[in-house]
């Protein structure tokens, strides 16, 4: 076991996987010599060279589209979209092509590839360097969507994503890159996609979260513990496929469900969890299924006062827990 930052875990996992499997290539903007704008690919170019670590032009659709072709012809591309906010030029290639290739060819073709993208706010990134884009993709059958929250999970889930035979979107909260540290075993462990984790056991309220919000949920759980409220935190880790069983089991136990996500609330990923809980755990509920999420503005505003107003915080989550516990 060694303590690692979130980004170290990702970088080392990429390197380790590239050593293990020569069919893995990394491509994206500035991923080569510079090692990526966040340094998630630092050192890969020096070790694996131009052929396997490719600095692409500023062409997101090409990054994804050519990765699809490379996957069809025997490689396992791990491509980087520099910021999740800039993934939309590639939306058609992801949704119309990568997601549908296996289905539309009746299993003739598969697209084993990973699309990594830093997402999320709270870093003074404003409207276009802060977005949470997961809901656009979790809607799509054929895609898998992963959002790890710890270095340990990042390593195990990235390995599984790279080794998976279908396209995986791997979203990394950029605020966590250097602020989150944790123990990471040196073994070749994997964490299966579609497995949630109960990160804080409790009995009165279930809080479901992912990414940075999984940390904030733990902080909020600690705060209300002093007030005698016992919170169970579920970190879903993989958004598609969702581990329904772990979510439902927890809600059936506590009878109360609060879902936390950083994206704006309306139509966000948490709406799907709320619907599943309402459909499948209705008889166990002792209160309304509630959500703490971002406000209905089209992006995270820049000024620190505005950004603080936008961001979900441990305080806001704790308030939500108190209200639900008192229901």
């Amino acid at each position: 076991m060694t303590a690692r930052t979130f980004i170290d875990a990702i970088r080392e996992t990429l390197a380790g996987e590239m050593r293990r499997d020569p069919s893995i290539i990394v491509l994206g903007e500035d991923v080569g010599k510079k090692g990526g704008v966040f340094l998630a690919t630092d050192g890969l170019w020096a070790e694996f060279g131009d052929e396997r670590v490719i600095d692409t032009p500023l062409t997101e659709s090409m990054i994804v589209g050519a990765s699809i072709g490379a996957a069809i012809n025997g490689l396992r591309p791990v491509c980087e979209i520099q910021f999740a906010d800039f993934i939309f030029p590639a939306f058609n290639q992801i949704v119309s092509e990568a997601a549908r290739m296996r289905y539309r060819s009746n299993n003739g073709y598969s697209v084993p590839m990973v699309i990594r993208a830093p997402y999320g706010g709270g870093v003074h990134g404003a409207l276009y360097h802060s977005q949470s884009v997961e809901a656009f993709f979790t809607h799509v059958p054929g895609l898998k969507v992963v959002v790890p929250s710890t270095p340990h999970d990042a390593r195990g889930l990235l390995r599984s994503s790279i080794r998976d035979d279908d396209p995986v979107l791997f979203f990394e909260h950029k605020k966590m890159y250097r602020s989150v540290r944790g123990e990471v075993p040196d073994t070749d462990y994997t964490i299966p996609l579609g497995q949630a984790a109960v990160t804080h056991p409790g009995s009165q309220v279930t809080v479901i979260a992912y990414g940075l919000m999984a940390h904030y949920a733990l902080e909020a759980a600690d705060r209300v513990a002093d007030e005698g409220i016992s919170v169970e935190v579920v970190d879903v880790r993989t958004l598609r496929p969702l581990d329904r069983e772990t979510v439902l089991e927890s809600v059936r136990k506590t009878g109360k469900c609060l879902i936390v996500y950083e994206d704006n609330k309306f139509g966000g990923y948490g709406a799907e969890i709320a619907a599943i809980v309402a459909e499948e755990a209705f008889d166990y509920l002792d209160g309304p299924v509630t959500r703490i999420a971002g406000p209905e503005v089209p992006g995270v505003p820049y000024n620190h006062a505005l950004e603080d107003w936008f961001m979900v915080s441990p305080d806001k989550i704790a308030d939500g827990i108190r209200q639900l516990a008192a229901y």
């Binding site: 032009p57 659709s61 090409m62 050519a66 072709g69 119309s96 539309r104 009746n106």
Partner: protein
């Protein structure tokens, strides 16, 4: 592709082929046409709900596909690519089962609309509906070929209207930077559904755009099968030897409406349609081969009988095949247990 010891008349020799190659090429043009005509008959008879046709494009498609290596090179085609797919290994039955969307249709098992061909067995990438997305797949295939050192070439085809999509710009730029073994073929038939090329492009020729990527842009008469062959062979050799991509623009004619849902007399005059008939590659290629003494009456008669048999057989097979079972409709969203 054929026996290298056969007869070689002057026409075949002029393009480095053998007489038998020319006969086979003619056979593919004629087979594609016969299948296509059968599709329209079946459509009018109410047997298949939709047709999208390759009539007028077949000569260019056969000529351009001919120099590629089957089971080695790759093609990312589009919805008019019937002759392309036949030349690259798909069978008449495969084309017609796709029209009927049967359970055994090798392109998609009945999941896609007719015209969306594909075959893993033959290195033909599954056709999509959003136009031009396939260019990037071919570029990626070429990238993998280069990295893996397979010696493969990837070729993609689309219409001139589709060539305006942003993916084309992004892909050509990347393929040119890395000198990928890639060939971009534009089958310019002058229309994107109803919109004439002059309203699709500010330049007369798509090939002019090649200069912007630092690659050769070649214009070829799409009704001249052997000219298309020669242009393609050169582009493929260039690609294979590491000199990078080529853009080939084949000027073709669209002999039918855009699809069975389109009425082209609304936007094309009778005179224009009559004049375009003169550019039909099928009779032009036939006369050329007859004049050269390659296509004798005997061979022509034999081919016609073979083609009729193949089209009838394909129709019977497609008619007889069952619909896909809805119980299978949830399969292959993701990999199943065996990993594929």
């Amino acid at each position: 592709m054929t026996d290298r010891t056969g007869k070689q008349g002057s026409l075949a020799a002029s393009v480095g082929l053998y007489d038998d190659d020319l006969v086979q090429m003619y056979r593919y043009v004629a087979l594609a046409r016969a299948l296509d005509e059968r599709m329209w008959i079946l459509n009018r008879a109410g047997r298949i709900p939709f047709v999208i046709s390759g009539q007028g494009h077949e000569g260019a498609q056969v000529g351009i596909t001919w120099p590629l290596e089957r089971h080695q090179d790759w093609i990312a085609p589009f919805y008019r690519s019937i002759a392309t797919c036949l030349t690259f290994g798909m069978e008449a039955r495969d084309i017609l089962t796709a029209q009927y969307a049967t359970a055994l249709d090798p392109s998609s098992g009945g999941r896609q609309m007719p015209g969306h061909y594909g075959s893993h067995e033959h290195n033909i990438v599954s056709v999509s509906s959003p136009v031009a997305t396939q260019l990037l797949h071919a570029v990626g295939i070429a990238l993998a070929a280069k990295i893996r050192g397979t010696g493969q070439v990837a070729l993609t085809t689309m219409g001139e209207g589709s060539s305006n999509q942003g993916d084309v710009h992004e892909g050509l730029n990347f393929a040119a930077i890395h000198k990928l073994p890639f060939v971009f073929v534009v089958e310019n038939n002058g229309y994107a559904i109803s919109v004439p090329a002059a309203r699709q492009l500010a330049v007369a020729d798509v090939a002019d755009r090649a200069a912007g990527y630092g690659i050769p842009g070649v214009i070829v008469d799409g009704s001249d099968v052997l000219a298309c062959y020669a242009a393609s062979r050169e582009a493929i050799e260039r690609a294979r030897s590491g000199d990078g991509p080529t853009l080939i623009e084949a000027k073709v004619t669209r002999l039918t409406a855009h699809s069975s849902d389109d009425q082209q007399t609304k936007y094309r005059s009778a005179e224009e349609l009559a004049a375009e008939r003169e550019r039909d590659p099928l009779p032009l290629f036939r006369s050329q081969l007859e004049e050269a003494g390659v296509l004798t009456e005997e061979i022509a008669t034999r081919l016609a009988a073979e083609i009729k048999l193949a089209v009838d057989d394909a129709t019977d097979v497609a008619e007889a095949q069952v619909d896909p079972d809805p119980a299978t409709a949830m399969r292959f969203v993701y990999a199943e247990d065996d990993g594929r």
